[in-house]
Subunit: 123 residues, 2 copies
DNA sequence: ACCGCTGTATTAGGCAACTAATACAATAGC
DNA sequence: GCTATTGTATTAGTTGCCTAATACAGCGGT
């Protein structure tokens, strides 16, 4: 994983989000085993405790399972994962559109900008 | 203004963003006069110092002008305002699309979701 | 000239959150 | 049974933000 952490937001929150995305997108498939807390922490250049906090949060959300002295695994519950994916997509969309509305940009403007942006990437 | 402040991010930053949006969208037109620091602070239930910090930041960005003993005004520079609007729209779009990409949702999926969302609002 | 209003500066204190260091607990595997 | 490796708990320290109190400076209106 390429941890791209900035200091303008809580580290643990960024890690949570990062891993959530990897699970939601399927990059981390159901049942995938995680490295140990210490290993992950070292990899991300972060205190083990910080990593632990992130992982606990993910467990609280039901995305991770823990076998106490064995390690952690992505949940096998594919429905939960799909729910997560939908939820994240939906909130992204509505947040984005709300922002555009506040900027006074209507539906046509939004679609325009998006198509523009995709064309830029097709180079 | 309806200050809708949450505690999960610095207050002053939220205020900055709020006012930026009002300026970018034209809700606060060029040359519009601001209430005094103390008045705004009271209105937003915030310490004057916090409000001042936000306003200073906006001034640093060139969006506000100060007439020392008279008050503050939105800049008259319409080009600067338009630049702000473009900049905010652009960063919103690219951030949104990056998120969708990470979720594994392609162009068609994005357009689909957006149209869905707009239909929902047309009730 | 004075009073009231504007913005500005300074200092201090407290609170909450994040990070860190270290010690503890439990089990798998040899 | 011992050791290594896992997750967990506890305590401590640092930082950033917000608040507060107070003082200063300059202009307008009466």
């Amino acid at each position: 994983m390429s941890w791209n952490l900035s200091s303008d937001r809580p580290i643990f929150a960024q890690i949570v989000e990062h891993i959530e995305l990897d699970i939601a997108s399927g990059k981390l498939p159901p049942g995938a085993k995680f490295p140990s807390v210490r290993e992950l922490a070292s990899e991300a250049s972060v205190n083990p405790n910080t990593m632990q906090r992130a992982l606990s949060e993910l467990e609280r959300k039901g995305l991770l399972r823990t076998d106490r002295t064995v390690g952690r695994f992505v949940t096998y519950d594919k429905r939960e994962i799909e729910r997560l994916r939908k939820e994240k997509a939906s909130s992204s969309v509505s947040g984005f559109l709300m922002q555009m509305k506040k900027l006074g940009i209507d539906k046509d403007g939004v679609l325009e900008l998006i198509k523009e942006n995709y064309q830029k990437e097709e180079t």
